[in-house]
């Protein structure tokens, strides 16, 4: 059924169709409509869920974590200051392997107070172990919430569905709202292998020493590495049911492009308008819109940018003291092969696992023995 709705409501409909069971959220401009519509849906029983009107975003994420660990499907939404307030708990949800799905409206971080859009808020959280989807249309927002639940629950990794403030959150677009029965076909009920219950008592997330922490985080990374393939696979399944393919990235006219633009969010669609105009004038330009930022789509980015003579990366964000964040990450993805000296990346010492001179000697031995790094990440001392 087609409706004209704003981006925020696309999040609400996504949460509704995904049969979210517990929603705990705190209002913040420009997210308020997400939770207002959801609370109406809960009140009139359109959505069979508990809506907890928490007193802060930190409590919102804490409540989502509590509900998720007992096996309920949870959803929340926030923006900027609220997302920053939740920061500690973002680590908790990912380290605790809880598939919470959260909508984040990209809004500038204060000071000064700004309710308008940029991406620093969500990108500041890129290291927390959450998957991140940057959407460019209201349709994509709704579809992504549903896909995010499916991928998150399969991998036990939480997801953020991200949209630009006002450009998307408050902009009305035609959205095809899928049929509930079809969504049920795509997204089965949440059945975690372990949950908090007196029927099978366990203590979750307790004191973890250096002898165990490293392996747990290794497992999180390894499961995150399965995500790109799973996102593509579930994206194809989505196309079969709903006619829309959900991908890691969207390339437009890149095959013969001499310059490829790289961007994300609504800017990623604005770029296409420019590409069309420029092509009319004979400029061989293409557009790469990165939809999934975490996990980083290495293979897709390398493949699509391979033939470009020049790459122009546009960041609606900046990591102070360094550079725009998409720029940093695309640049690092493209490094290697004929493009520079071999770099070997090692992960060591997580959770306090000891790093000794012997650790470094082993690293040097490995580096001496290999011309190129054979694995993207080389883990030191993980009990495999």
């Amino acid at each position: 059924m087609k409706k004209v709705i704003m981006g925020n409501h696309a999040l609400s409909y996504g949460a509704l169709l995904s049969r979210s069971q517990v929603i705990a959220a705190y209002p913040i401009t420009p997210q308020t409509q997400v939770v207002e519509l959801l609370s109406e849906m809960c009140a009139d029983k359109t959505l069979d869920a508990k809506f907890i009107k928490v007193e802060s975003e930190h409590s919102a994420m804490a409540a989502c974590i509590g509900a998720s660990v007992v096996g309920a499907r949870t959803f929340t939404a926030t923006s900027a200051q609220g997302l920053a307030l939740m920061h500690e708990l973002l680590h908790w949800a990912s380290g605790g392997r809880l598939p919470v799905v959260m909508g984040n409206v990209n809004r500038s971080m204060a000071p000064g107070w700004s309710i308008w859009t940029d991406q620093n808020d969500s990108l500041s959280q890129r290291d927390t172990g959450w998957m991140q989807f940057y959407c460019a249309s209201n349709q994509e927002v709704l579809d992504t919430v549903i896909q995010a639940f499916k991928v998150s629950e399969q991998l036990a990794i939480p997801s953020m569905v991200i949209l630009d403030a006002f450009a998307l959150s408050h902009t009305y677009e035609v959205v095809d709202i899928p049929d509930q029965a079809k969504v049920d076909e795509y997204l089965p009920p949440f059945r975690p292998p372990f949950r908090l219950t007196p029927d099978d008592p366990h203590a979750f997330d307790g004191l973890t020493g250096p002898e165990n922490y490293f392996e747990l985080r290794y497992k999180l990374q390894k499961d995150m590495e399965k995500a790109p393939a799973l996102i593509e696979e579930t994206g194809q399944e989505y196309e079969k049911l709903f006619g829309r393919r959900l991908r890691l990235v969207e390339d437009y006219l890149c095959d013969d492009a001499e310059i490829v633009l790289v961007s994300s969010g609504t800017a990623g669609y604005t770029a296409r308008v420019a590409v069309d105009d420029l092509r009319q004038n004979g400029v061989k330009v293409g557009n790469l819109r990165i939809r999934v930022f975490r996990p980083f789509p290495f293979e897709a980015v390398r493949r699509i940018l391979k033939k470009a003579k020049k790459v122009a990366i546009v960041d609606r964000n900046i990591s102070y003291g360094h550079h725009g964040i998409f720029y940093q990450e695309v640049k690092s993805a493209l490094y290697g092969g004929a493009n520079g000296r071999p770099l070997f990346g090692f992960i060591a010492g997580l959770g306090g696992r000891d790093i000794t001179p012997a650790t470094f000697k082993g690293i040097v031995d490995h580096t001496l023995a290999h011309d190129q790094a054979e694995e993207e990440i080389i883990w030191i001392g993980v009990k495999k």
Binding site: G95, G96, R97, A156, F194, H202, A203, F204, D205, G206, T208, E211, N212, E215, L216, Y218, K219, L220, D223, V382, K383, K384
Partner: protein
């Protein structure tokens, strides 16, 4: 509580054996906290009133009731001395732990 069998500390050999998040899969009974103490309680049963106070106030559940009498579980007793202090019959004495 007496362990029913010899309970061991769990040591993982591989990440494959581990749950994906920190989730407990065993009790703490492998940890014989009896090794912490310097003094141990000894109950003189002849004077015991069976009042239940020592059982009630033991923070480590190390006084068990067996056949209606209190029995110290020396595997876990940390030697805090609460039982001796609270016993109304003064029939529990804290003695120096022997080697």
């Amino acid at each position: 509580m007496k362990p029913k069998k010899d309970v061991k500390k769990i040591v993982f050999q591989s990440e494959k054996e581990m749950p994906m998040m920190p989730m407990s899969i065993g009790s703490m009974l492998f940890n014989k906290t009896g090794s912490w103490r310097n003094i141990r309680p000894e109950i003189k049963l002849e004077d015991c009133l069976q009042c239940g106070i020592c059982w009630k106030f033991c923070p480590d559940m190390s006084i068990e009731i067996e056949n209606e009498w209190p029995v110290v579980n020396y595997d876990y007793c940390k030697g805090c001395g609460i039982c001796a202090e609270e016993c109304p019959a003064k029939c529990i004495v804290m003695v120096e732990e022997r080697k």
